[in-house]
Homo-oligomer: 321 residues x 2
């Protein structure tokens, strides 16, 4: 099948599938709507962790060991910063720093984040469009037993240790969805929307918290396929399972499916979760979802796209006389 | 002799003598009033070239090959910046960058430059006080045949190639002199003021362009000793001699002495200029002024201080009954 594809993604886990999609789809047909709820200012620099992870992953610059940051990174800036007695809890590599310095300068000069990101993608020859969910500020905040924390304070400084009781996306209600993101979801040639296996509560929820984006997704004509970030009750990476338990949810693929139920058509779970109880209105599909190699990513991308195509075909059959 | 000493300094040449002074004087007795006319914003970062050169020189971090920047520097940030298609004409090393990022953040948070500098000195265990001439913005500008240029555009981007016709220090008239600098010059225990062999027109002139600083210097009770940056008609480093010719001045030690004549008591020239015609009201002293080794710097520092002490003694003799 042909057509355009939109992916919703956070950082590392999502970027892996985004890379798979970018590699199996015809060049220029993929747009990724990226979470910017984790964006923050540190040392005066504008940092967009999920956009950077997508940029580095899609350009091949990513550090393969971590899935974020740049490969062959050096840390001389951090060493000098420590020597000056400055804050060092958030580590910025020497080459990674170029992204933040350039972004900070351009934002200060009035360029919107989407334009800064687009320029960067063209410069690094990334054919996939990376679309920040909004050019406005949305801040993911985490209520813990010790009170509200900014996301990076929770995630990096506190190493996700505090128990999470509630999440909020400050500014999301009033944020203008990126027009290109809305347009991508309304594209008559849209083949599928893929919700990447990012943290549903931390990384995908901020995107869906922007009312026009949520509306555009619910009204979109193409099948919406989500991939479970939970495999056999555990998260592949990050605090998803721990956080689900803290929020009073069962850390399971089924719980994630229920979370997405009224937005998605197909839910892809790992083979170990193949026996899970069906959810009305959601097609279940099982597949190997752990992405270790590049081939894993491409394979999962093909499976997600096929699932969307089959769903479309199925729908058409029922619609035909 | 005991007492405090104030040095006026720009970048590399001045910092060499400043280091010599810091090493031969009792700890904590030296204050350096630093030129900030070269300060500028680049990539959104607040850069203070002369302060940084002084900080790096006095802390032992300086790159001995250049006399500015940090030793064992790496340039991975610049490589990544070029990859992103950003401006690279002003090169910022990975470790040097820590200074600019920290300064930019602190200035944005409302800390004055003097406090930022002082904190940095304490952190790097520099016992000498480095005092920015002002916490206000003063910008050295250069009129060339192609029009007015900001200093760094002239100095770094254009490699000092355009002929200089005029210099201006934007903001100097209205700038508040740093109170600590005024106080240092008014200190009753002041032993000497040393005008370092920096470029008189580019590096020392901005300091003297701030009216209260110029007044404080002319009214100061201690002898004022300047060291010629011109040796045998040539500048040791930088565009001093070329610029003097372009400004219609003879590139000579004597011309510099005339420039300083009504502000100084003693002028130290190199031995090759020992025969120069006397200038009324200025004691001439010749000495080896080329500072190659650390010993050269200490020796010149001792000579400058002795010249000041001798002048004081001479004055006292005449004053005594």
């Amino acid at each position: 099948m042909t057509g355009t594809v939109v992916a919703l993604s956070g950082g590392v886990g999502g970027a892996k599938l985004a890379l798979g999609l970018a590699r199996v789809l015809p060049e220029g047909t993929l747009s990724i709507i990226a979470n910017t709820g984790d964006d923050f200012r540190h040392l005066g620099l504008a940092i967009s962790p999920d956009i950077d992870t997508l940029v580095y992953t899609l350009s091949g610059l990513v550090d393969p060991a971590h899935g974020w940051g740049r490969r062959d990174e050096s840390w001389n800036f951090m060493t000098a910063l420590a020597q000056l007695g400055e804050e060092t809890w958030f580590r910025l590599g020497d080459t990674d720093l170029a992204m933040h310095v350039a972004r900070t300068r351009r934002l200060a000069a009035g360029e919107p984040l989407s334009q800064v990101t687009d320029r960067c993608c063209r410069q690094l020859r990334i054919a996939t469009r990376i679309l920040p969910m909004t050019d406005d500020s949305v801040q993911t905040r985490v209520r813990t037993d010790a009170g509200w924390l900014d996301f990076q304070d929770y995630f990096v400084r506190e190493h996700c240790a505090p128990a999470v009781r509630e999440l909020a996306f400050r500014g999301a209600d009033a944020a203008q969805a990126l027009p290109d993101a809305i347009a991508a979801l309304a594209d008559p040639g849209l083949r599928a929307v893929i919700i990447c296996p990012s943290n549903p509560y931390l990384s995908i929820a901020p995107i869906l918290a922007i009312p026009p984006l949520r509306t555009a997704l619910s009204q979109c004509k193409a099948p919406v396929v989500a991939i479970s970030p939970i495999i056999g009750g555990r998260a592949v990476k990050g605090p998803t399972a721990k956080m689900m338990a803290e929020l009073g949810l069962t850390p399971s693929a089924r719980e994630v499916a229920l979370h997405y139920a009224n937005l998605i058509d197909v839910f892809v779970v790992d083979e170990v979760d193949a026996g899970m109880t069906e959810i009305p209105g959601v097609r279940m599909q099982s597949a190997p979802t752990l992405m270790t190699t590049l081939e894993d990513r491409e394979q999962l991308a093909r499976i997600a796209l096929s699932a969307a195509d089959e769903f479309s075909l199925h729908q058409s059959k029922f619609r035909l006389p």
